[in-house]
C-alpha cells in the first residue's frame, strides 16, 4: 500500500488499518459529517437522488465482488435485485413480517437464487457465463409476472420500512437508513478483499487454473462470489422496494442490468472505491441530463422537434464511450493518480 512519505508501519494493526494517517481520519470524519448532515441542506429531491445512489451502490458493490474481483461476468443483476425486492414486498405486505426480517430474507433469497444461476460458472466462463446470467434476468422477471404471490403485472405495494416502532416515512429518515446500510456494505466489501476469501476470488479472476493448482476450490469460491454478490443485490432490492413503495417487474429491466455493468466499469473494476465513483457518476449524469440540460434546451434553444429529448441518450452514450476510450481503468484509477500527485506535490515523481 502506498503511504505518504515518512509514514511507517510498526505493528500488524497499523499495517492492516484502512485509515492510516491523521489526514485520512480528518478527511474521513469530514466526509461522514458532510454525509450525515446532508438532510439539513438538501431538499427531498436531492435526498431522493442520494437514496437512489445509496441503493444502487449496494447492488453495484455486490456485482463488483462477483465480476470485478472474482471475474464472473453477470448480466442479470437487475433480476437478482428484483428477487430481493419482491421477497421483501411479499414478506412485509402479505405476511406482515417486520422490515428487518424482510431485509435479511431478501438478501438470503437473492443469494440462493444467485447460487442456482451461478452453478454454470463451474463449467463456463466469460461470454458464455454472461449468456446464462441473461437467462436468469428473463426467467426471474417471467416468474414475477406470472406468480400470483408477487401481484403479477398489476404489481405489489410495499409498506414503509420500520424498525422497533420507528417508521421511516420521511426522505431524510430513509436517507439515514440507506446510508447506514450502504456504509456497512462498503466496509464489508473493502474488508472481504483483505481476507483469504477475497484473495481466492482475485486468484480465480486472474487465472482459475493456477488458482485450482494452488488448492483453491473453484466450485466453492465461485458459488460464494455469486451468493455474496446476489445477497447484496437482494438487500438493495429490499431497500428499493420500501423506498418506492410499489413494485412492478418492469422496474428491473435488462437495461438496468447492463447499466450496472457500465457503472462498475466506469468506476473501476476490482476496486472498492470504483463502484462508488461509477454509481455516483452515472446516477448524477442521468439526473443532470434529465432535470437540467434537456429542459434548458427545450426552453431556450430552437431545435428540431424531439431533438432535445434525444440529447439525453446521445450524451449518456457519448460519455460512456469517451470514458472507455480515455480512461479504461475507470475513475478509481484517476483517483489513485490524483492521490499520488497530491502526495508528491510539488514534485512530479
Amino acid at each position: 500500500m502506498s503511504l505518504p512519505s515518512g509514514t511507517r508501519n510498526y505493528t500488524y494493526a497499523q499495517d492492516m488499518a484502512i485509515l492510516r494517517t491523521k489526514t485520512h481520519w480528518a478527511l474521513f470524519i469530514g466526509f461522514l459529517a458532510l454525509l450525515f448532515t446532508a438532510p439539513l441542506y438538501l431538499g427531498n429531491y436531492w435526498l431522493g437522488v442520494a437514496n437512489l445512489i445509496g441503493i444502487t451502490l449496494i447492488a453495484a458493490l455486490g456485482l463488483n465482488i462477483l465480476t470485478g474481483y472474482c471475474g464472473q461476468l453477470s448480466i442479470g443483476h437487475a433480476g437478482f435485485i428484483a428477487v430481493g425486492a419482491y421477497t421483501a414486498a411479499v414478506l412485509t405486505n402479505r405476511l406482515e413480517l417486520p422490515f428487518l426480517v424482510g431485509l435479511i430474507c431478501a438478501g438470503f433469497n437473492a443469494g440462493l437464487i444467485g447460487l442456482i444461476f451461478g452453478l454454470p460458472s463451474v463449467r463456463v466462463k466469460g461470454f458464455y457465463l454472461a449468456i446464462t446470467t441473461i437467462a436468469a434476468q428473463f426467467i426471474i422477471i417471467w416468474v414475477i409476472n406470472h406468480w400470483s404471490v408477487t401481484g403479477g403485472f398489476v404489481g405489489i405495494k410495499v409498506p414503509y420500512a420500520a424498525i422497533g416502532g420507528f417508521v421511516f416515512r420521511s426522505e431524510a429518515s430513509q436517507f439515514y437508513l440507506i446510508l447506514s446500510i450502504a456504509a456497512l456494505c462498503t466496509f464489508f466489501a473493502k474488508n472481504l478483499m483483505r481476507t483469504r476469501v477475497g484473495r481466492a476470488f482475485i486468484a480465480i479472476r486472474d487465472n482459475d487454473l493456477a488458482a485450482q493448482v494452488m488448492g483453491i476450490n473453484l466450485l466453492y469460491y465461485k458459488l460464494l462470489a455469486f451468493f455474496i454478490g446476489c445477497f447484496m443485490a437482494g438487500i438493495a432490492g429490499a431497500l428499493l422496494a420500501h423506498w418506492i413503495g410499489f413494485l412492478n417487474a418492469e422496474q428491473f429491466s435488462l437495461t438496468e442490468s447492463i447499466l450496472y455493468i457500465g457503472m462498475i466499469i466506469i468506476g473501476g473494476l476490482g476496486t472498492t472505491v470504483g463502484p462508488i465513483f461509477g454509481v455516483v457518476f452515472i446516477r448524477l449524469l442521468q439526473q443532470i441530463l434529465t432535470v437540467e440540460i434537456v429542459p434548458f434546451l427545450e426552453e431556450n434553444i430552437a431545435l428540431p422537434a424531439g431533438f432535445a429529448t434525444g440529447v439525453t441518450p446521445m450524451l449518456f452514450g457519448l460519455v460512456i464511450v469517451l470514458f472507455l476510450i480515455l480512461e479504461p481503468r475507470g475513475l478509481a484509477h484517476r483517483w489513485t493518480l490524483f492521490k499520488s500527485a497530491y502526495r508528491l506535490w510539488p514534485f512530479s515523481y
Binding site: 431522493g48 403485472f153 398489476v154 404489481g155 410495499v158 418506492i244 434529465t290 424531439g306
Partner: protein, 419 residues
C-alpha cells in the same frame, strides 16, 4: 508550466465565484406569482413515439393558456417538465422534484410511469393526473386521478360494440387477447375477467408481448390454433404494428376483426404498420380524432402547426393538450374555492386544497369537445368516463360511434385483482 497553473487557479476561482453568486442572483430575481405544476413524459426511451408528442402537447397547451387566456385567474402556469425516458427510477425522482419544487399537482402520460410513482404520491397526498389510465392506478381510489377511462373500460366498450354490431354467429364468440406485459395489457385482462361472462364472450388463453417485440408469429400461431372469432390488442403502437403485420401474414386478419385499446390506436400505428395493413382495424379512443369539428380543435391545430408540425395528425397530441387544459381547470376551480394564498404554499395543505377543492369539484367541464365531459364522481377517480369506437379507413382513424359511457368497475372487490 506556470501559465498552466495560473489557468487552473483562475478556473477554480471562477467556478467558486459562480457557485457563490448563484444563490444571490436567484434571490435578486423578482419572483413572479405563478401556479406551478409538474409534468413528466417518456419523451425519450422505448415509448418515445407516444411520449414525445404528448410532452409537446402538454407544453404547447400551457403556452396557449398563458399567452392567450392570461393564465389561470390572472396567474400564469409555471410548468416543471421532465423527461422520464420510460424509466421507473427516473420517474420516482422526478415526482420527488415536483413535490420539492412546490408543484400543486403533477401529470404523467403513461400508466407504467404512474404506477412506478403513484405510491410516493399517495403517501405524500400529492395529487396526480394520468392520461393513459389502468385500473391499478385508481382502484381503490386514492390521490391518483385518470384523465380518461382506463384500459379495462376500452375492453368493455369494444366487447359491447362487438357483441351488438359485429358478432352474428350463434353461441359465445371466442375472443383472443394479445397484451403488453404491463398494466396497459393486463388492465384489459382485468376487465375481461370482470365482464366477459356477463357479455357472453369466451376468453381464450391470453398471449403477451413486450414493447420491443419484433415478431409475434409464434404466439399468433397458438391463437390461430384456437379458432378465435375476434382478436383484441392492448398495447402501444410499435408492438401493435408487429402483431397486426404478423396476423396479416398468417391470414388471421382480415379473416377475424381486430380491436385495439386506446394506447395502440394512434397515427403512429398507421405510420409504422402502413395504412393498407391496418385497414379496417377497430379501436377505442377517448378523444376526438384529428381535425374533428369541435370548438377546441382550432387551437390544437394552430399550436401544433406553429410549434411542433411533425406531431400533426397525432391523437396523442390531443390527449395531452386536453390533460393540460384539465389541469388548468383544476387550478381555476381550486383558486375560486380557496384563493391564491393557500395554493402559493405548494405544500400538503395546497395539495389537499387542489384535490378536495379543485379536482373533486369538477363538474361537466367541457374540454373544448376534445373528449368527453370531465366530472368527479365520489368513489371513481376517472374524470372523463366516455370513449368512442374508431375504425381505420383509408389510413384515417375515423369514429364510428357516439360517446359511450364506461361504468365504474370496483376491481378491488374481486379476489383475483392484483394476483
Amino acid at each position: 508550466m506556470k501559465s498552466k497553473r495560473l489557468l487552473i487557479v483562475a478556473g477554480v476561482i471562477c467556478l467558486a465565484l459562480i457557485l457563490a453568486m448563484l444563490p444571490i442572483t436567484s434571490a435578486c430575481t423578482p419572483k413572479e406569482k405563478t401556479l406551478k405544476i409538474g409534468i413528466t413524459t417518456p419523451s425519450s426511451g422505448p415509448a418515445a413515439e407516444k411520449g414525445s408528442p404528448m410532452g409537446h402537447a402538454n407544453l404547447d397547451a400551457i403556452e396557449y393558456i398563458n399567452t392567450e387566456l392570461g393564465g389561470v385567474a390572472g396567474y400564469p402556469i409555471e410548468v416543471v417538465w421532465l423527461d422520464n425516458a420510460y424509466d421507473a427510477a427516473k420517474v420516482v425522482t422526478n415526482v420527488k422534484k415536483f413535490m420539492d419544487d412546490g408543484c400543486l399537482m403533477f401529470g404523467t402520460s403513461s400508466s407504467k410511469m404512474m404506477s412506478a410513482s403513484m405510491e410516493i404520491a399517495n403517501r405524500a397526498e400529492f395529487p396526480g393526473l394520468v392520461c393513459f389510465n389502468a385500473p391499478v392506478l385508481h382502484r381503490p381510489p386514492q390521490h391518483i386521478y385518470g384523465q380518461m377511462p382506463d384500459y379495462g373500460d376500452d375492453w368493455s366498450a369494444f366487447a359491447k360494440y362487438y357483441m351488438e354490431n359485429i358478432w352474428k354467429g350463434p353461441g359465445k364468440p371466442k375472443m383472443a387477447m394479445h397484451l403488453l406485459n404491463n398494466t396497459t395489457g393486463y388492465g384489459a385482462l382485468d376487465a375481461s375477467k370482470a365482464a366477459a361472462d356477463e357479455l357472453g364472450i369466451e376468453i381464450i388463453t391470453p398471449e403477451e408481448h413486450s414493447t420491443d417485440t419484433i415478431s409475434e408469429m409464434e404466439s399468433l400461431t397458438r391463437i390461430r390454433a384456437q379458432n378465435p372469432d375476434v382478436l383484441y390488442i392492448s398495447s402501444t403502437p410499435a408492438p401493435t404494428a408487429v402483431i397486426i403485420k404478423n396476423a396479416v401474414e398468417l391470414g388471421l386478419y382480415p379473416e377475424i376483426p381486430i380491436g385495439l385499446g386506446h394506447a395502440s390506436i394512434t397515427k403512429a400505428l398507421v405510420d409504422i404498420a402502413g395504412a393498407d395493413i391496418v385497414e379496417g382495424v377497430y379501436g377505442v379512443f377517448p378523444t376526438v380524432s384529428w381535425g374533428d369539428d369541435v370548438p377546441g380543435m382550432a387551437k390544437v391545430i394552430e399550436y401544433c402547426q406553429k410549434l411542433h408540425p411533425k406531431d400533426e395528425g397525432n391523437m396523442d397530441y390531443i390527449t395531452s393538450w386536453a390533460q393540460s387544459l384539465i389541469m388548468a381547470e383544476i387550478l381555476r376551480v381550486a383558486m375560486e374555492n380557496v384563493g391564491y394564498d393557500v395554493l402559493a404554499k405548494g405544500d400538503v395543505e395546497s395539495w389537499r386544497a387542489i384535490e378536495t377543492q379543485g379536482i373533486q369539484k369538477l363538474k361537466d367541464y367541457d374540454v373544448g369537445g376534445l373528449h368527453g365531459p370531465v366530472s368527479y364522481t365520489a368513489g371513481d377517480n376517472r374524470l372523463s368516463k366516455s370513449v368512442r369506437i374508431f375504425q381505420i379507413k383509408n389510413g384515417e382513424i375515423a369514429p364510428i360511434t357516439d360517446w359511450i359511457e364506461a361504468p365504474v368497475v370496483k376491481y378491488e372487490e374481486f379476489d383475483w385483482f392484483g394476483q
